[in-house]
């Protein structure tokens, strides 16, 4: 005799499995920085079969990344980043490698074998060395806590269990004369959700350990939560310009915890790792010196993304530490490229402000001249162009500007 189970009953059962897999909620409890011990020491080499296989594959990946033409090869800057990871890399500091890729996005990635890729968009957004070191410390923590191989083992275990359960349920259902396909599909969803949850808890681990590494190295640990504050502000500003709400997809299907939750946890953790009486630095001046040569490129790449909301927010955030000619010029560029009603006048004013600074880039003088010429202010335009030619005599358009000057 076969047991009769209704389809709806089965679905409800499956839903319960999926819900149970989710646990009590989406939030991951804060992980205490004190509990985060490194799982590897210096000179770590894998000994387990699965990890050896993963490392071999990743060595090929690193070979490709190391030779990629997306990398910014500036030796000074690369030495600087290597020193940074050497400061906040914990016991494996000497083993880790770091590559800087020219990608205008807020991101950094750690690979299982201990090499990190930092996106140039990250260098643009960081206000000081402590903020950058915080992101690098977070990435180092992924390596020190063996997150990638733990993640892989978790996925493998869960997919194994799912395959066995689905097959077992199928055979049992077959024997009982019940179709279990719906149930299997719901269990599959549950499995995917638990994998993402595991991923989020590893991110929380990396935050907790990262903030500790940061403070141990003498950097102001509170800067790490400020990084998230800046990211939230930027996402909001970007969405607002497009008359949209910020994508709050940081929930069930997200691999990372919500930025708000991370920011709050990092604040608590930062105060936990702070030792009274010790002084913590943000090393802003040293940071600006290190990225000085590529900062115009970083700003240029960002402004050309056609995301005026985000670009303006980034420039305003950086300007909280003081305006300069470079930031003023790119502020005007955001307006010019945005091209809404009144933006041309705003941009013209922006260039006029930018050239007041001694460090204004040559292009600020060029655009200042063009805007003056358009407004019919010929004498002033002539002066601006002449200044442009004096600071950039070999500019690609220098002959053209020289010819124009004859008619002004």
């Amino acid at each position: 005799m076969s047991v009769l189970v209704s389809r709806r009953g089965l679905l409800a059962g499956g839903g319960a499995i999926a819900a149970a897999a989710l646990g009590t909620g989406i939030a991951v409890a804060r992980i205490l920085p004190g509990a985060m011990q490194p799982l590897i020491g210096p000179g770590y080499k894998p000994t387990d079969r699965d990890e050896i296989g993963l490392w071999q594959q990743m060595e090929r990946v690193e070979e490709e990344i190391a030779g990629s033409n997306l990398l910014i090869k500036d030796p000074g800057l690369n030495d600087y980043l290597r020193d940074l990871i050497g400061n906040v890399g914990g016991p494996a500091a000497k083993d880790m490698r770091i590559y800087l890729a020219r990608i205008p996005e807020f991101n950094a990635v750690m690979f299982p074998t201990g090499f990190a890729v930092v996106f140039s968009g990250l260098l643009l957004r960081m206000r000081n060395e402590a903020q950058l070191a915080g992101v690098i410390a977070h990435e180092s923590a992924h390596f020190l806590r063996k997150h990638q191989i733990r993640q892989w083992r978790d996925v493998r275990r869960k997919t194994d269990l799912l395959a066995i359960a689905a097959m077992g349920a199928g055979v049992a259902g077959g024997a009982a004369g019940v179709y279990t396909g719906d149930l299997a599909r719901l269990a599959q969803l549950g499995t995917i959700l638990t994998m993402l949850r595991y991923n989020r808890s590893l991110e929380a681990e990396a935050d907790a350990m990262g903030v500790r590494l940061l403070a141990d190295a003498g950097y102001a640990p509170m800067e790490m939560s400020r990084t998230w504050e800046q990211l939230i502000g930027e996402l909001d500003a970007s969405a607002k310009y497009r008359r949209k709400k910020r994508d709050r997809g940081y929930s069930l299907f997200s691999t990372h915890p919500a930025p708000e939750a991370r920011m709050a946890d990092l604040k608590l953790s930062a105060s936990e790792v702070t030792i009274a009486g010790r002084s913590y630095e943000d090393h802003r001046a040293r940071y600006l010196r290190a990225i000085g040569a590529i900062r115009p490129t970083l700003l240029d790449d960002q402004v050309k993304l056609n995301d005026p909301g985000a670009s303006q927010y980034i420039i305003d955030t950086l300007a909280q530490d003081g305006w300069n000619g470079l930031l003023r010029f790119y502020e005007a560029e955001v307006w010019r490229l945005r091209n809404r009603a009144g933006d041309d006048a705003r941009a013209a004013q922006g260039y006029a402000v930018a050239v007041q600074y001694a460090d204004a880039p040559a292009d600020a003088w060029r655009w200042h001249g063009i805007m003056l010429q358009k407004a019919g202010r010929r004498a002033e335009a002539k002066y601006a162009f002449a200044h442009y030619l004096s600071v950039a005599p070999d500019a690609p358009d220098a002959p053209f500007i020289r010819q124009q000057l004859q008619f002004l």
Binding site: R156, M167, G168
Partner: protein, 260 residues
């Protein structure tokens, strides 16, 4: 009962297969006699299929298979009489003034072109502009430069993947097959198989003149259609991939016309 067994055998046979499909430039004639062939570093990865169906890379199997494939390639080319150099590392041409970066760049370029061939020739996204043109892709000047500097006539690019069902996967397969008795039949959950391709580039013109894809697999976990971890399995793969090079359409037509 007998009919059932026959049906089951047929189903098993159908779900296991070895397939190759090659395309050639319409003007392509398989290289013969005195030619110089450069074999680029073969891209090999071998893994194990977990119970849940994921492929887990295995370093020891990969090393073994790469060595076997290199040996099989040397043996195969020796029998054809060509003058062959197999690059086991990217810096293998340094004595001829070609550094590893140049080799890496050409490999990456080929990877992009190969992906395009796979998409538009094999995955169904056919391009109307490439219809009836055989194989119409090129690596351009970079490949010609390599040929000029090294004196090689052809470059061969190889990619091979192989995977094998783990004990857990095979056990799951047995359970699936056993389920057929109670009416829940999962006789072919899949697990393991080969995927490989070879691509021949004429270094005098830069064009990809011949491309072949090999797929050997089975829907039944635990049955292997080839094993490149063993020397004979690697030789079999090289044979399946490279030993039946067909000339391009116009060359075939000319051969027919001349009564060969």
């Amino acid at each position: 009962m007998r009919r059932l067994i026959i049906a089951a055998t047929c189903a098993a046979a159908l779900s296991a297969c070895v397939q190759t499909k090659q395309y050639a430039d319409v003007q392509f004639a398989p290289p013969e006699g005195e030619y110089k062939l450069l074999v680029m570093r073969p891209d090999v990865s071998v893994g194990s299929v977990t119970t849940g169906g994921l492929v887990e890379p295995r370093a020891d199997w990969t090393e073994q298979s790469r060595a076997n494939l290199l040996a099989a390639l040397k043996a195969q080319q020796a029998s054809r009489g060509g003058n062959v150099l197999i690059l086991e590392k990217r810096d293998g041409l340094a004595t001829m003034g070609v550094n590893s970066d140049t080799v890496a760049e050409l490999e990456r370029l080929h990877y992009a072109v190969g992906a395009s061939i796979a998409l538009h020739r094999y995955s169904g996204a056919y391009l109307p502009t490439k219809r009836r043109k055989g194989l119409d892709w090129t690596l351009g000047q970079q490949a010609v430069d390599l040929g000029r500097r090294t004196g090689y006539d052809y470059a061969l690019f190889l990619h091979a993947e192989d995977s094998f069902a783990s004990t857990g996967r095979v056990a799951l397969q047995v359970l699936g097959a056993a389920g057929c008795i109670v009416g829940f039949c999962a006789p072919n959950i899949g697990g393991g198989g080969q995927f490989a391709y070879a691509s021949l580039v004429d270094l005098r013109t830069g064009e990809v003149v011949w491309f072949n894809v090999l797929q050997a697999g089975t829907q039944i976990a635990g049955i292997s259609m080839g094993d490149i971890r063993k020397p004979e399995g690697a030789a079999q793969m090289v044979d399946r991939l490279l030993n039946r090079m067909k000339p391009g359409r116009e060359v075939q037509r000319a051969m027919k016309a001349s009564g060969q």
